[in-house]
């Protein structure tokens, strides 16, 4: 239940509880202090009255003499005067008060509450001897009223403060969370309709900035994935449509008018060749699907893989006068010979196509993987091209009569990645591609 409450409600609740706790402590403390002060004030008043009465007494022969009776009517504070334990003077208000006053007179003095009246006793001492006691009584009704009013008032104030603080917290929270809601909905809309848009909030300096940069990163990755998918689709489409286009064009042409046998034979040979190429492309696509779904396991000697891939390009190399070499060795790679050949061949074809005189495949071990560096002494790949070489029209040119799959670089990389490896284009003079495959 609490997990389903919104973050806004939870923060609001938390701040409300904190403010309420603080207010309870404040109200309790205020009222305790106030009651203590009021009690002290009542004592002061009673003591002042008793002391005033004390000064009007005369002590004669060890006993208390009353010069004149206290004016009970003029003063709202009744006074008892005891000589020893005997009341010399009593206001005769209420019997219970008389008894309490007598009780105080026989003790050491101090204060005692009887109902809403406070009695305060002051001993009468002469020459170090206690002769009697003066007891004054004050009504506590006014003090109790004050305490009561203060309690109600402080409670009301606390409730009002709590309400105001909750309102303020709600306003601040919605102000603070509004950008989050806006960014969330913007990111949702962009991810669907406009993958080029970014928050671009610059260096993050607060939580919102971090959220913006995180969302930007996510959008980048979605855009990249989508672009890669589109490139792959375009690449597959090209790989499948080109041989198909040749077949259709060749048969269309052949059928347009009567031809001699040689022309038909040539047309059929073209159809056959391109059908084989289509088979190769489809095999590779299926291979990639099986490899990435983990259905395919195998291993091969990297040198054998490179030799087989290079063998398909020998004719192209010979036609262009390129010296094609394979060197180095390493532990077995975790792909079978067919798959490795399909990955490597387009790169070797590419090298043979762009080399001036030399193309080389160098095999080396690199940690848990095996690398095949395919280099040539051609013009190489510019920095600008390096990022786009896997997407543009840079493709291994097919060699007539060769049944090699003749894959584009994008498909070859797809295949390498599905086998847990990769293909990268390296900077520098001449073409330089590195195929990485996991070793066994």
């Amino acid at each position: 239940m609490s997990g389903r409450r919104g973050i806004r409600t939870r923060l609001l609740l938390a701040s409300g509880v904190a403010v309420a706790a603080a207010l309870v402590v404040l109200v309790v403390a205020f009222n305790l202090v106030l009651r203590h002060e009021l009690s002290a004030s009542a004592n002061d008043r009673a003591r002042a009255r008793a002391t005033a009465e004390l000064s009007a007494l005369t002590v004669r022969g060890g006993s208390i003499q009353l010069e004149e009776a206290p004016d009970a009517a003029a003063v709202d504070v009744p006074v008892w005067i005891f000589s020893g334990a005997t009341a010399v003077e009593s206001p005769r208000v209420v019997e219970s008060l008389d008894l309490a006053a007598a009780g105080l007179a026989s003790s050491d003095g101090g204060a005692r509450d009887v109902g809403d009246t406070r009695l305060y006793a002051v001993p009468v001492v002469s020459n170090g001897r206690r002769l009697g006691t003066v007891v004054a009584a004050v009504s506590l009704a006014a003090y109790d009223d004050t305490a009561q009013t203060a309690l109600v008032g402080s409670l009301a104030l606390a409730v009002a403060l709590l309400a105001v603080s909750l309102l303020a917290a709600r306003w601040i929270l919605s102000r603070a969370l509004a950008p989050v809601a806006e960014m969330t909905s913007a990111a949702a809309i962009w991810s669907e309709h406009d993958l080029e848009r970014r928050f671009a909030a610059g260096q993050p300096h607060d939580e919102l900035g971090q959220l913006a940069s995180t969302l930007d990163g996510l959008l980048d990755r979605i855009a990249d994935a989508l672009r890669r998918e589109q490139l792959l689709t375009a690449e597959i489409s090209h790989e499948l449509r080109t041989p198909l286009a040749r077949i259709v064009a060749e048969t269309d042409l052949a059928l347009r008018r009567p031809r001699d046998t040689a022309a038909y034979l040539e047309a059929l040979a073209t159809v056959r060749r391109n059908a084989e190429q289509l088979t190769g492309v489809m095999d590779t696509l299926l291979e990639a699907a099986r490899t990435s779904s983990g259905q395919r396991r195998g291993s091969a000697d990297p040198l054998a893989v490179a030799d087989r891939a290079a063998a398909h390009c020998r004719r192209l190399a010979a036609d262009r006068g390129i010296e094609l070499t394979v060197s180095g060795s390493a532990a077995r790679v975790a792909v079978d010979v067919d798959l490795g050949e399909r990955i490597l061949q387009p790169l070797i074809e590419n090298a043979c196509r762009f080399a001036r005189t030399l193309a080389n495949v160098q095999i080396a071990r690199n940690g848990a993987s095996v690398t095949f560096a395919v280099t040539d002494d051609g013009d190489g790949v510019s920095d600008l091209q390096r990022s786009s070489i896997f997407e543009r029209g840079v493709r291994g040119d097919r060699v007539d009569g060769d049944s090699g799959a003749g894959l584009g670089l994008a498909l070859a990389r797809r295949l390498a990645r599905s086998a847990g490896g990769d293909i990268t284009a390296e900077p520098g003079r001449g073409g330089h591609f590195v195929v990485t495959l996991p070793s066994v």
Partner: protein
């Protein structure tokens, strides 16, 4: 009546050979190249009656090549022949100045029919080129001896303006040429790109500048 001359840019040797052979049988004069640079040389030598361009050429994008040819004042029909069948690709082909779009694999009869229709209608008279040359392989603009490099988007925007020099090109058309179909391009994004293009053109002495037709579009020269 002389045979209409068709120029073809297609990087697949076998398919190029087939199209050349088939079109010759149909009574066209044909010259072909595997690269954008080769096609530009062919187009300079003789005025063709129509062009067939592949989009995925080894040295340039066929659409960029089309813009470069338009920028030189070549106004003949252009037919894109490509494996790219997605709607954004087809639309960008037209936005780059193409007149027709045929997807591989294609029926040879259809190719001939479309080509005949385009040639029959013919293009408008050749335009006077502005003198600004755009290069599809390097994405650069040249005027006389000086040249500046452009980003792909700048190239496509300038290519459209140069191809229709003297004419006001609407903002909408510029956006369609510059960005893929479906991209949300804000008005001030286009203005920012045009401002950058202006700055780059100023680096070319005596090159025509870009003027703004407020609320309508932009004009080169």
């Amino acid at each position: 009546v002389s045979e209409p001359l068709i120029l073809i840019a297609e990087d697949d040797d076998e398919l190029r050979g087939l199209v050349v052979r088939g079109l010759r049988e149909e009574g066209f004069a044909v010259a072909a190249s595997a690269t954008a640079a080769g096609l530009q040389q062919l187009a300079e030598r003789r005025q063709p009656d129509a062009l067939i361009l592949d989009i995925g050429l080894p040295d340039a994008d066929g659409r960029d090549l089309c813009q470069a040819l338009r920028a030189r004042g070549l106004n003949v029909p252009v037919l894109f022949l490509t494996a790219r069948d997605a709607l954004p690709d087809r639309l960008s082909g037209f936005a780059a100045g193409g007149d027709d779009y045929l997807i591989k694999p294609f029926s040879f009869d259809e190719l001939v029919a479309r080509l005949r229709a385009q040639v029959r209608r013919g293009g408008p008279e050749p335009r006077d080129a502005s003198g600004l040359i755009v290069d599809p392989s390097t994405h650069s603009a040249r005027f006389g001896e000086e040249s500046v490099t452009l980003t792909p988007t700048e190239y496509r925007l300038l290519g459209l303006l140069v191809g229709r020099a003297g004419e006001t090109v609407r903002r909408r058309e510029l956006i369609q040429a510059g960005w893929p179909h479906g991209a949300i391009v804000h008005e001030n994004t286009l203005d920012a790109y045009l401002a950058r293009l202006r700055r780059k053109l100023r680096q070319l002495p005596d090159a025509p500048g870009i003027t703004t037709a407020h609320g309508v579009g932009y004009t080169l020269g």
